[in-house]
Symmetry: C2
Subunit: 743 residues, 2 copies
């Protein structure tokens, strides 16, 4: 391939669009986009196969923008936070849920009876984002030039639906550093798995590549190191990363903090490495390096591309072009230098459109061909074909939910982490897209069904790429980000385990699961001081409060077997909402009053007493304790109590007010009981019994006793609560609010 | 040095103590301690200088146990969570605070008037911890054999005060993987800085080494990669890490997830690497490697030590000895094999005591000599001597607080991140132990005073080791853990900046700042949707709720200049409590009613009105909005309102009930206003106005308007709140509780 004027023109078009956009925004990151325009041009035009008219084509090549300035660009993918729970139960016994169908497609809230509706924002866009949008625009994705010019305004109709994951051509929500590269590893895992699972002789159905740009910022982040290490171990030959070696980060020259040999490090991880020294101009070198990387099938590849940040600017090669828009004079000289009219903005020469549209047409033809292949595949492998076709709709197989285990109160006490294992064991065959795993805690998290095959490179002799069990190693943060990528690929529902306390290590990526609406399941065992001997460094106190405060996250803390099944039901059917399942290490009895039907409402009455003086509101391991405390309260204090189990407050919040008041009624006091931070429980109770300090090490029963999480410890506090509220009239349930929240 | 029977005996004593302890505990991690006993013996006996009678001797060598099994061992350092705020104001205008002196030295709570006192737990210990305690015991630290045998019981009087940082001989709280190695980097930074700052010709006052054991688990964690990268960059010649290469992690053979070349990776970071192939037996090889590592002055060193996990057990070399105690039969054969009486437990031959006590005596002599040197130093460098002597007491210089800037309402509006910079600029000269820094966001975090010198290896030409400004790179998690280590060293108060949203990346280490009582300051700028254009990926929603739920953490969100100064006053004077300062990107006016004296109470009345119908409770950027809303409320709704500013709820909680009720009084409704998750605000208000969804990108004023964070938006909700509560009698302040929390 030789390169000529047209290529130069296309590259300079990208550069000037980036410059114009950041100037218009009066802020942003023009530098890296300007430096990376040549490789973007070569990659998108010569290598990547995609159809702008159908951004969801399953076998498209994936592109992830992870690097610093470009990455902040990609923050534009940020979206709304509406909870998208699937309350549309398909099981007959879930019919009562039909009426609860959530529709937060606009932001509703009520003020003293007045209903306001704010239209959904669509303008959650960064400036640099403009670059990626510019590329997408040039190729003919559904992004008009006018949209591009106005995308920064709050509530503007910018390209890309406010549900960010719908933005055509953008694969994953990045922005926070290191996430994109880790997402890319997840996308590559998903590709390798999907190919191994579905491809057949003559049907090379899935063979796409995943490309990723990353910079020094990403390279410094621990999450990216974790992801690069596991990618090397997994020999992901379909992953090609391009490292923008521009020597500049926000603090200026990277020699202030970053003098390691990045390529040597990637080699140590098992990557294939190359270096293109003249990344600003050597298009042929770039092409050859990518072509070579594609040929390396048993290793991920990284190409170090030495570029000049802000290429063409008077400030090129300095930190001055990293975080600030160029000055008007600088833009003028740059446009003249690039052969553009210095007086015009947002200019795209027709021949650039033509070149890019031609490539887009080739992509459309490739999809056409693929569709025919897939149809033929259907005639030979009907079951696999139908499975694949179903998966990409995010629908689960008909009747899968009938496999969910149910329990009677007479069944033996079991830890919810074991109950979680029973769910996985029961459903793994009917939900083939479920890919489980753990961050080196398999036997503690109970995340692996007995017949599971590990997802491993076949040459290691310990699994294969069709395997559905991931060994993430001790890499919680990368695990979470990889799961975001795996979910985004479209053919996998990832579940990954660690201790609840160490989900905090992954907080950066967990947040993006929520923001980008990924159906990811965090299996978070050892959920409280109930883990006992490991002590305070492992005992969560703040963790549930943290993730309950995170929008669009379901935090489940089931109390028994039926609630555990309910948690999985909701986690699996809520297509755009991730879940954290907080599970016990210790055994719990099955509750008298629990059913899946009740528990999928997020909260229900576990023990009713119409004459009760108090409602005990509780979750997980403390619900059965509360049921015991009811007896103590009656016997010792002559107080009647009822118990509400609230395994998931986010789902409970989505029920009708009438229902919620039936669970936590007016007229009597209420007290929450959860053996960790009380923060937030004031929303569901008048008083709170919890643990606003670190825990203690010891056998768990001793630890519970130490902090008075005993029937007596609960009862005396409940008695104090009843006494305290007896003079308050009217005594309203905390469910009643003067106005509703912005959610 | 030659090794003989006595060394073998000592090593096997350590091994059998570890075995006995984990057997007595019926759980734990005997494997790695058994494998690492030889190197521990050589290191502690032949290289490390320390005085067991004075574990605080400043120039002692530091040892950090970071690796997997040993590390979980070290989880025993977990401590209580009492808030140790220094409300003992030393400024005359802080006198009112004297009466507020907090004393949570036992866990107090009140139930309906009944006062209970639970003795402080001292048994927050893991099992494997026994190994490190065993070593300390052998050397003569204040740990009796009887204490060792009983250390696992809840509420037992185990060695080491429940305030974990007081446990003699243990330097940092580790447990969660990767933290220890990163703490060690921080300790090494602190050593290099302290040496460069205080050492003079003829006075090599500070020349200690930092040693760290780490394993595969740590090596996989991103935080450890970050820390190792910056350690290489910083050329920390005083840091020697020993990598326990035992091929085993919890999931079994590490080849499931970890096949990279760890030593090549460390070389890429700039470390000096060595390999001792027979780590179980080659004591001479171990000694030579450590000696060589000590000679390498311009690089951190790592020694890969190939060991057999569970050496001596029938299950040696397998995952079976990683997480479980050995069986009784196995222990018997092991003791016979090692020449110990199989019927006896917790045996220490006298000659082992003698050997270790001899080394301890040498350490005591070394301290003696150092003390003389330090005294002589005092006669030649009195100022430096006194500075050093003061620093180690954690006391600040007399009168420093008079430098804190104060503001009048007529001063121009300034962003609190800039006000934070003004504080640093004002105090850096009077608090020489303050070492600031940023995770590659210096110009955004405003963490660098103008004349700051970077902490850098001198040969890079961009700073020196006496420099007080850290360039952490884009490594938030390692930054936090390094700051924990720097604080633990004893001569530094570290402050480090990043965006508030990315403090979440560091959550694992931030939690340990709290648990281990480190005086660490997180300068967390861009604290809300007020950051504007960067959008939802960068706009914190759940972050403050998360860290407010974390015990022993002060979360400050100052509203203006005086509150910012107050936040620094409390952060710097609270010797055992870390702080997060959440600071705005946007400008804020100075409040009419703010003073440092008021703000250090954590909450105060910013605008009083004795006839008010409602209290608006707010923080940071929303306080001035509330003051505007008061006018709207009066004009449009004829409602009188008062405003309470609560810059730090943790400190506010520590005030007397009487005071708190004066801020949020009985009889009128209250509404919180904070532009992020409402979770937790129910504790201080009847209704909450916040943002329980992700934000939006755009100029910040537009974003505030979109979500109705305007005087009108606040006023109409306040009006709804007043209306809603008008029939409730008595209308109690939420400050009133039926019983107090466990803190
Ligand atoms: Ca860069
Ligand atoms: Ca290991």
């Amino acid at each position: 391939m030789t390169y000529g004027k047209i290529d130069e023109l296309a590259i300079n078009t990208i550069r000037t669009l980036a410059v114009d956009a950041t100037f218009a925004a009066n802020s942003g990151h023009p530098g890296a986009p300007m430096g990376m325009a040549p490789v973007a041009h070569v990659l998108f035009n010569k290598f990547m196969t995609f159809n702008p008219k159908n951004p969801d084509w399953p076998n498209r090549d994936r592109f992830v923008l992870s690097n610093c300035a470009l990455m902040r660009a990609a923050s534009c993918r940020a979206g709304e936070s509406e909870m998208k729970l699937n309350l549309r139960g398909v099981m007959s016994w879930m019919k009562p849920c039909f009426s609860q169908l959530l529709r937060f497609s606009c932001v509703n809230f009520i003020i003293a009876g007045l209903f306001l509706t704010i239209p959904r924002s669509s303008a959650v866009n960064g400036h640099g984002c403009m670059l990626q949008y510019a590329l997408l625009h040039l190729f003919g994705y559904a992004l008009s030039m006018d949209d591009l010019k106005h995308f920064r305004q709050v509530d503007s109709i910018t390209p890309g639906h406010p549900e960010a994951h719908d933005t055509p051509g953008i694969e994953v929500t990045t922005g926070p550093l290191g996430q994109g590269l880790s997402n890319a590893v997840g996308l590559a895992v998903a590709q390798a798995h999907t190919a191994a699972y579905f491809n057949k002789p003559g049907f090379d159905l899935i063979n796409n590549y995943t490309y990723c740009f990353f910079g020094d910022g990403c390279a410094m982040e621990g999450i990216a190191s974790e992801a690069a290490s596991i990618a090397g171990h997994l020999q992901l030959g379909n992953l090609i990363a391009i490292y923008d070696d521009n020597h500049i980060s926000i603090d200026g020259d990277i020699k202030c903090a970053f003098t390691e040999d990045v390529m040597a490090r990637f080699e140590a991880y098992g990557w294939h490495t190359q270096w293109v020294q003249h990344g600003d101009t050597d298009l042929k070198g770039i092409e050859e390096a990518i072509a070579k990387a594609k040929e390396v099938k048993d290793k991920p590849s990284v190409i170090k591309l030495t570029t000049t940040i802000g290429f063409g600017s008077l400030l090129q090669g300095t930190g001055g072009v990293h975080g600030n828009a160029l000055k008007a004079d600088d833009i003028k000289q740059l446009k003249v230098k690039f052969g553009f009219d210095p007086e015009k903005t947002f200019v795209v020469p027709q021949e650039v459109y033509d070149l890019y549209h031609k490539h887009a047409a080739e992509g459309a033809a490739a999809e056409q061909e693929w569709n025919q292949l897939f149809e033929k595949y259907g005639s030979e492998y009907k079951e696999l074909h139908d499975d694949f076709a179903r998966r990409v709709t995010k629908a689960l197989p008909e009747g899968w939910q009938n496999k969910l285990p149910t329990y009677k109160p007479t069944d033996p006490a079991v830890a919810t982490r074991k109950l979680s294992e029973s769910v996985l064991e029961a459903i793994y065959e009917v939900i083939p897209e479920l890919v489980s795993g753990s961050a080196d805690l398999t036997s503690s998290n109970n995340t692996r069904w007995k017949k599971a095959v590990d997802f491993q490179p076949p040459n290691l002799g310990i699994g294969n790429y069709a395997g559905r069990y991931m060994r993430y190693g001790v890499r919680e943060h990368a695990m979470a980000a990889m799961m975001n990528g795996m979910s985004a690929y479209g053919t996998i529902i990832p579940a990954g385990g660690t201790f609840l306390n160490f989900v905090s290590y992954a907080a950066g990526a967990v947040r993006l699961s929520s923001l980008s609406h990924q159906r990811v399941i965090y299996v978070a065992t050892h959920d409280s001081i109930g883990l006992g001997e490991d002590g305070p460094t492992h005992q969560p106190i703040e963790t549930l409060a943290h993730f309950r405060a995170l929008p669009n996250m379901m935090v489940w803390r089931p109390a028994d077997g039926n609630e555990t099944s309910a948690a999985y039901y909701m986690a699996l059917t809520s297509k755009g909402t991730p879940s954290i399942l907080a599970l016990t290490r210790q055994n719990l009895p099955h509750l008298e009053g629990s059913t899946i039907e009740k528990a999928i409402k997020g909260g229900y009455v576990a023990l009713e007493d119409k004459e009760a003086n108090i409602t005990l509101v509780s979750t997980g391991s403390e619900v059965s304790l509360c049921l015991e405390a009811v007896k103590t309260l009656k016997e010792k204090y002559n107080i009647k109590a009822r118990v509400a189990s609230l395994p998931c407050v986010e789902v409970f919040d989505a029920q009708s007010k009438e229902y919620r008041l039936s669970v936590i009624p007016d007229g009597i006091a209420s007290m929450s009981v959860e053996v960790m931070s009380t923060l937030g429980w004031e929303k569901y109770s008048h008083e709170q019994f919890g643990l606003n300090r670190f825990g203690a090490s010891g056998p768990y029963k001793d630890v519970y006793k130490k902090f008075e999480f005993t029937p007596e410890g609960i009862a005396k506090r409940a008695a104090a609560t009843v006494e305290f509220y007896k003079d308050v009239k009217p005594l309203r349930s905390p469910i009643n609010r003067a106005f509703l929240q912005l959610i």
